[in-house]
């Protein structure tokens, strides 16, 4: 029953998506905190915000990918 082990692995890998959520929330929260302190500088940093969000989210997507691979490709 390797299939079942793979499913368990997929479930464990899915934890990574939640961890990525922590990262994304951290980035967005810190941006918001900074933007509220200095609203005039906020507009210039939206590009940086999105890059940061993308990097944080990409790792969650990797975890999701591992999960998918375990579910459907192993």
């Amino acid at each position: 029953m390797e299939g079942d082990l793979a499913h368990i692995g997929a479930g464990i890998a899915a934890i990574g998506s939640g961890l990525a959520a922590l990262g994304v929330g951290n980035v967005a929260g810190n941006y918001l905190a900074g933007a509220l302190r200095n609203p005039s500088a906020a507009a210039g940093q939206t590009a940086t915000l999105f890059i940061g969000l993308a990097f944080a989210e990409a790792l969650g997507i990797f975890a999701f990918l591992v999960s998918l691979l375990l579910m459907f490709a192993v």
């Binding site: 998918l68 691979l69 459907f72 490709a73």
Partner: protein, 181 residues
């Protein structure tokens, strides 16, 4: 083994038509995807670089030119409006001064007329007053005379009633003395 997987669309699909593994990782489909991706990208690139982007750039340039021109025209119009406003203000001031002058003149004229009329009226009133006073004096004199006559008569009657007789001269003298007193 998997004989039925080869007969249909390809090796990555089972007999029921659902995916075997991840379709994203099916190597048999990749050349197809890559080929069509390149075709699509080249098509988009040529459409954009040959037709769309120059056209939009031209439109944007034209628009910014139009906006600049319009802004200049607006500036000119604004200056004109300011000039017109200044002229208007000046005209208003002039008109106001003129009006004040006219008002002052009219006032003066009216004042002069009024004083003449007033004088005339005063003179008339004075004449009337004098006339009236004369009439009143006359009436008063008449009244005094009548009062004296009445007083003399009354005194004579009274004296007669008392039973004494006094001559008229005495009575007149007494009444006159009383009237004066």
């Amino acid at each position: 083994m998997a004989t039925e997987t080869h007969d249909a669309a390809g090796v990555c699909v089972d007999a029921g038509g659902s995916a075997l593994g991840m379709p994203q990782l099916c190597a048999d489909w990749m050349p197809n995807q890559i080929f069509w991706l390149l075709v699509t990208l080249i098509a988009i690139y040529f459409v954009m670089s040959r037709i769309a982007l120059p056209r939009i750039a031209a439109v944007l340039a034209e628009r910014s030119g139009t906006i600049t021109n319009d802004l200049a025209a607006a500036e000119e119009l604004k200056n004109k409006a300011a000039e017109a406003e200044a002229a208007y203000d000046q005209a208003l001031l002039d008109a106001r001064a003129e009006a004040q002058k006219i008002v002052a003149e009219a006032k003066e004229e009216i004042q002069a007329e009024l004083s003449v009329e007033l004088e005339k009226a005063d003179a008339q009133i004075a004449a009337k007053t004098a006339e009236s006073e004369a009439a009143i004096a006359e009436i008063r004199a008449g009244a005094v005379k009548s009062v004296t006559a009445v007083a003399k008569d009354t005194a004579k009657e009274l004296v007669a009633a008392m039973g004494t007789t006094v001559d008229a001269k005495t009575i007149t003298a007494a009444v006159n003395a009383r009237m004066k007193g």
